[in-house]
């Protein structure tokens, strides 16, 4: 092989960076479940946001129509993504911005590093951004000798604690305020030793810590919630105003945005500015919405860059069943209502994207064959709460099932030793594919009853079914199945169909 670039890369290009679990979900979940403080913090926080969301959503009589509109706009974007991206590039460039295209995390990190180096700076301030978390930008910059300071309060807490975010909107949701106080006292270079865990005092400490950075920073790095194709405009939606400081004060602004974040036009923002705040923080309106279009001479950053990031998005787009995962606007409503997330927290999912959306988005971006992520689609009871809450109606349960099928199919081969699950499914497929087969099997019910014994319950089973009996009994089976009872009650009917002409068939005795 020569080292010469020979043209198109191998397709599809899957995503890299902080998108992988480091251990299978059930293993990671087990250790998180063992942390009662985490359970308490998460339970409290998710329930609070959940209730707030329900209240503000109920205020809108056209909420369902808004969800339909959001879903339709995103579907349109995905169907026309190449053209919209070119339109966006032309408009962004015409307004004085510079576009950079990044196929994956490595390319994006290298582009951002070069742009920062060109300014001669070694420190940057950051606006909260999922895309830069996804590509592991902070870690990369640190290796290159560049310090990146998170300015979002919760991101700051996580960064000071050398921890990982566990929620896309509330990265420090796993910490309570007394834990935050301890982190500030331990990690802030200048801090009042009398600091209490009052939220206002904690915010004040963070403000003082950050103010110096805002005033001295020459370079800021941000993500973006929306890019508007018809004008080349970018938008960041936030609560604290720290993002606004980063977006307006420094000389150089570098934004990293996934290619799926485009909207066709300014008018489409109307829909999303109603959907996003209500779904994410449970507010009617977010406090700060910053919108910029290229460079305005004498006002704000004069060097404006945008890195358009693929990192597996094209691969996800190619998946007909899974592509609507790209409609996600990162509101986090799905994780706030998810009974699994509520108990395990975000770290159990490994990836930057936790919760229900992460369980589909991460494997779609990395490919389901990525061994680290093939347990994620199973991290759901398919209760459907996420689908109901999603402001752009992503059918997460359906995509989870689709990805499970992809996982199972990717492991099929003639030579493979079947797993217990494979064997169970094969056996059940035989039993359930005819009434006669199931009827034959049911002749064994008295045996099950016998096995259950005097206690009339089964309390321990081997193999994969042991997962059930670790916390649940199985009742003793009945002595005859419904099918057997019916046949006896309707002797006169033929064995293929059977009609009930017996009005006394109400004895209810099995």
């Amino acid at each position: 092989m020569s080292g010469t670039f020979l043209g198109m890369p191998t397709l599809p290009v899957f995503g890299h960076g902080n998108l992988n679990a480091t251990e299978p979900f059930p293993t990671a979940a087990r250790s998180e479940l063992a942390n009662p403080q985490l359970r308490a913090n998460l339970g409290h926080a998710t329930h609070t946001i959940r209730d707030k969301r329900l209240r503000v959503v109920a205020e809108l009589p056209d909420w369902e129509e808004l969800r339909d509109a959001g879903s339709a706009i995103k579907e349109n974007v995905m169907a026309n993504l190449p053209a919209l991206l070119e339109q966006f590039e032309a408009n962004f460039t015409a307004r004085g911005g510079v576009i950079h295209w990044a196929r994956d995390a490595g390319e994006a990190n290298a582009i951002v590093t070069d742009l920062i180096r060109a300014t001669g700076e070694t420190e940057v301030v950051k606006v909260k951004s999922m895309a830069t978390q996804e590509i592991g930008l902070n870690e990369h910059l640190e290796e290159q000798g560049i310090a990146a300071f998170e300015t979002d309060l919760a991101e700051l807490i996580v960064q000071l604690d050398h921890d990982k975010p566990s929620h896309i909107l509330v990265p420090a949701i796993h910490k309570n305020r007394s834990q935050v106080r301890e982190i500030f006292l331990r990690e802030m270079p200048v801090v009042d030793p009398e600091l209490t865990d009052e939220p206002a005092k904690l915010a004040e400490a963070a403000r003082k810590h950050l103010r110096a950075k805002f005033l001295s920073a020459k370079v800021a790095v941000s993500g973006a919630n929306f890019g508007l194709a018809d004008s080349g405009t970018l938008a960041v939606v936030e609560s604290e105003g720290n993002g606004r400081m980063c977006l307006t004060l420094p000389e150089t602004l570098i934004t990293v945005m996934g290619i799926e974040k485009l909207l066709p036009s300014w008018a489409d923002l109307e829909v999303f500015m109603q959907l996003l705040p209500r779904s994410s923080t449970g507010e009617r309106m977010n406090p700060y919405t910053s919108v910029w279009t290229g460079v305005t001479p004498g006002d704000g950053p004069q060097n404006v860059h945008l890195v358009l990031l693929d990192n597996g998005r094209s691969a996800a787009l190619a998946d007909e069943m899974g592509r609507s995962a790209l409609h996600c606007i990162r509101c986090s409503a799905c994780m706030n209502v998810c009974p699994v997330y509520e108990r395990t927290g975000g770290h159990a999912y490994g990836s930057t994207y936790p919760g229900p959306i992460g369980a589909i988005l991460s494997p779609l971006l990395t490919g389901i064959k990525s061994e680290e992520n093939n347990s994620l689609p199973y991290a759901s009871s398919l209760c459907g709460a996420c689908y109901d809450a999603c402001p752009v109606k992503i059918n997460i349960p359906e995509i989870l099932v689709h990805l499970r099928a992809e996982d199972v199919d990717s492991k099929r081969s003639a030579t493979k030793v079947p797993t217990q699950m494979d064997l169970m499914m094969k056996g059940a497929s035989w039993a359930f594919s005819s009434g006669r087969n199931l009827g034959l099997l049911e002749k064994g019910l008295p045996l099950g009853k016998l096995a259950a014994g005097k206690k009339r319950k089964i309390t321990k089973l081997p193999g994969i079914v042991a997962g059930w009996t670790q916390s649940r009994d199985i009742p003793a089976p009945p002595s005859q199945s419904f099918r057997q009872w019916w046949a006896k009650e309707h002797q006169e009917a033929n064995h293929d169909g059977g009609t009930s002409t017996n009005p006394a068939a109400t004895k209810g005795d099995a």
Binding site: S381, F432, S471, P475
Partner: protein, 264 residues
């Protein structure tokens, strides 16, 4: 009306009384019940576990059993199995390249109702005591299963029917809309998370002081009942069809400790 009963595999094999109760209710209303003998299972365990190839013969069997039988509507005492028949069968058939089967599945799906849907929307039952003679002098709480609630949008149909049963006291279940943690093979693959969800559900159930928890899905009730049994609780589970079928003359089988299921 001629009504085809889809008993569902779990009710057929483990909870025959739920199907018997369904037959009793429908016959009491003057309808004819038929039981297509070829039926077995809806296949959602296979589908939800990603085994579409193994699900296909199960789906095909269900469609065959129900499109060769003569009936007006089909009914199942399960929200989850009806949701599978309505929403998954076509998808699985299409994905396996069986378009003709998908079309037949759509016809069967459109004629299939969950029991409370059939009772309320089609048969006009709004007062169980008056119209069915239902009598059940016990304190009951009620868990709405996820698929009935979210995929079929059953709303309060089951609960409202329970509230009209003679002699019953229905206690509201806190956090009722939270999943019990069953989720089919999820309960085995992610047993720890499933157990954590179940513990919160059973704590809420026990907190109501009810003597049993009712619902519309035998699988979820087996999960909840299995947890209560393991915890040594005296609280049991009972499908709402059995409560509706119970009368003064023919009370439901809940002697003494309310059994998990299937006991005489």
């Amino acid at each position: 009306m001629r009504i085809a009963l889809f008993a569902t595999c779990i009710v057929d094999a483990m909870y025959p009384r739920t199907a018997q109760a369904t037959v009793a209710i429908l016959e009491r209303l003057g309808h004819t019940v038929v039981f297509p003998a070829g039926q077995a299972c809806c296949g959602q365990m296979h589908v939800n576990s990603g085994y579409f190839k193994e699900a296909l013969p199960v789906v095909a069997n269900h469609v065959r059993a129900f499109d060769t039988e003569d009936y007006d509507v089909a009914v199942a005492p399960s929200g989850s199995c009806v949701a599978s028949v309505k929403h998954q069968h076509g998808m699985v058939a299409k994905r396996c390249g069986e378009d003709a089967l998908a079309a037949r599945a759509a016809v069967v799906g459109a004629k299939t109702y969950e029991l409370s849907q059939l009772l309320v929307d089609v048969l006009g039952v709004t007062d169980a005591a008056a119209q069915l003679g239902s009598h059940f002098p016990h304190t009951v709480t009620y868990h709405p299963s996820c698929h009935g609630m979210r995929l079929l949008k059953l709303g309060d149909r089951q609960l409202d029917l329970l509230k009209t049963v003679g002699g019953i006291e229905v206690r509201e279940l806190p956090e009722a809309d939270q999943c019990c943690g069953f989720g089919g093979t999820f309960s085995m693959k992610n047993a720890d998370v499933s157990t954590a969800m179940l513990e919160d559900k059973t704590a809420n159930i026990c907190g109501t002081g009810a003597s049993l928890c009712s619902g519309g899905d035998a699988s979820c009730l087996m999960h909840i009942g299995g947890g209560l049994s393991r915890q040594g609780s005296a609280v049991g589970t009972l499908h709402f069809a059995e409560i509706l079928a119970a009368t003064l003359e023919n009370p439901a089988h809940i002697a003494g400790d309310v059994q998990l299921a299937g006991r005489k």
